[in-house]
């Protein structure tokens, strides 16, 4: 009977026990909800099927036996090389796998690498042309969305994947939030552009835009920097001096020459010294 009780306890514990996620450890626990939202959009959401054709529906019937089976689409594992983050590949990536070229021959390893090309894209909001490495699919997507900005703004981070695309998206969002300052010399055009793209701003708050497109390391650095700026250490000598002066005041001993305020403001004799001055000056 004892074993069953242990089992019951374990079951109970396993219900209450929650495995620590990456947002629960160390400084990461101080990351704001805005960054968590972006992380979810980038890493947790399932990207669109690019390299395989997903099966439709929830269930399918086995033609031979008539058995009903669930449809389970297991995506092909993709490799994201460092070069992916220097271009915009439109969801494509490197696939590592095997080819079985003949029935009676051993499988051979093969990498399916997308065909990359360098081309120009135009960003309306940023009012610039950019030279980027893309795939044919990216251009197709840009054309389908009627523009580079529309493509970036409409596509979730999990489909953009690359750091470059995310950074550009962040820049475009920031630009929109500030009301397109790059078109300051042409107010009509500025208004036109803002009217066209302002719908995308509704899904982000300013804080979310600030935390958008940051890698894990960058986000942690940002938190650390904010934390450091928030509690900047005050030199103890200043604290002690202030305390002493207050004590002296309480005791009724007036400073013979200077008041407490003056003392704290008085510059140190050290600062009066000029080691680089001429000899007779010092």
């Amino acid at each position: 009977m004892a074993s069953s009780r242990i089992q019951a306890t374990l079951r109970q514990l396993s219900k209450t026990y929650k495995k620590k996620s990456r947002f629960d450890i160390g400084i990461a626990s101080e990351l704001p909800a805005a960054y968590k939202k972006f992380w979810r959009e980038w890493k947790v959401l399932k990207p669109a099927a690019v390299h395989f054709v997903p099966q439709e529906g929830k269930w399918k019937r086995d033609e031979l036996t008539g058995e009903t089976l669930p449809v389970q689409n297991i995506p092909l594992p993709l490799k994201h090389p460092a070069e992916l983050h220097e271009g915009i590949w439109g969801g494509e990536a490197v696939i590592k796998g095997f080819q079985k070229r003949d029935q009676l021959r051993r499988r051979v390893a093969h990498y399916w690498v997308p065909v990359l090309k360098r081309t120009v894209v135009r960003s309306e909001v940023l009012n610039t042309h950019l030279s980027v490495t893309v795939t044919e699919r990216t251009i197709q997507l840009i054309n389908d969305h009627y523009g580079f900005d529309h493509y970036l703004l409409k596509t979730p981070a999990c489909d953009l994947v690359s750091m470059l695309a995310l950074k550009l998206k962040k820049q475009i969002l920031t630009e929109l939030m500030n009301g397109c300052p790059r078109y300051a010399n042409n107010p009509i055009k500025q208004k036109e552009i803002y009217e066209e793209y302002k719908t995308y701003l509704t899904s982000y708050t300013p804080e979310e835009i600030e935390w958008y497109g940051l890698s894990w390391y960058e986000a942690l650095c940002k938190v650390a920097k904010q934390k450091e700026a928030a509690n900047k250490p005050i030199p103890l000598k200043n604290v002690y001096r202030k305390n002493l002066l207050e004590k002296l005041k309480e005791a009724g001993i007036e400073g013979s020459h200077s008041s407490a305020e003056e003392m704290s403001n008085a510059t140190s004799w050290l600062s009066k010294m000029n080691p680089f001055g001429k000899k007779d000056e010092a």
């Binding site: 054709v53 669930p70 092909l76 080819q99 079985k100 070229r101 197709q140 054309n143």
Partner: protein, 251 residues
């Protein structure tokens, strides 16, 4: 023959090594077993990483794209014209240089309402192709071939025929002849030049350089000159000399 080709193509496995310039769409040859609802996918074995290339729609020709010109483009059209082009051409030659915008439903609706009459450049030319025609005509050296033995007077239809031989269909009413009547055969005309004025679409006027060549066969035939169209010649009519001087010769 053709059917066997189609068969080998559609069976897929025989043409695995074909290079395709598109997104690779793959398929597992041995799909993994089913897993429990909400559970982990089964542990993958090496055979689950054997992929076959699917012969997919991406190989197909991409559909044409609509774009709207936002300015006058020489030889193409005027602002507001909707063009249907191959996606690559549209992207590289019109959208990136900023000559056109995407033919999205909003842009098309906006385009229908907008009027481009105020733009001066459109008014300048009677058609988008006029500039091209004018360029072609102004660089032309028109050889008017006339008989060396039988007397003649130069008439508009001679010029029309010469134009046709040079690849331009010019109606007679569009040709303005030089102010003097030219009679021949006269070998002193051989090394002289003059110009006729062609009116395109009853609007644009171009001067075309003309030279008379005396034609005969046998022993009467004039010796051939290499690259005669590149050589500068004397003006037949002194009043036209200044204009002819300014017109450029083919290089």
């Amino acid at each position: 023959m053709f059917s066997t080709f189609v068969k080998s193509f559609s069976s897929g496995q025989n043409v695995v090594m074909q290079q395709t310039r598109n997104t690779f769409i793959l398929k597992r040859r041995f799909p993994p077993t089913l897993h429990k609802k909400g559970g982990k996918p089964p542990k993958m074995k090496a055979r689950h990483f054997i992929y076959d290339l699917v012969e997919e729609t991406n190989v197909q020709r991409k559909p044409d794209m609509k774009i709207i010109l936002n300015q006058f483009v020489d030889g193409v059209g005027k602002a507001g014209d909707v063009l249907t082009l191959r996606p690559n051409v549209a992207y590289k030659e019109y959208l990136m240089p900023g000559l056109a915008v995407y033919g999205s439903p909003e842009n098309l609706a906006k385009n229908e309402k907008q009027e481009y009459d105020t733009i001066d450049e459109d008014k300048k030319f009677s058609s988008p192709y006029v500039q091209r025609t004018m360029r072609g005509l102004s660089h032309l050296v028109l050889q008017i071939t006339m008989n060396k033995l039988v007397p003649w007077t130069l008439e508009p239809w001679h010029v029309r025929v010469s134009f046709r031989k040079a690849g331009f269909v010019v109606p007679e009413h569009a040709i303005e002849m030089p102010p003097i009547t030219i009679r021949g055969p006269d070998l002193s005309l051989q090394n002289k030049e003059f110009y006729v004025t062609v009116t395109i679409n009853k609007t644009e006027k171009v001067n075309v350089r003309c030279r008379i060549h005396h034609w005969a066969t046998g022993l009467d035939r004039l010796p051939s000159v290499d690259f005669h169209w590149k050589k500068p010649m004397e003006a037949l009519i002194p009043e036209q000399a200044a204009v002819l001087e300014e017109m450029s010769l083919p290089v």
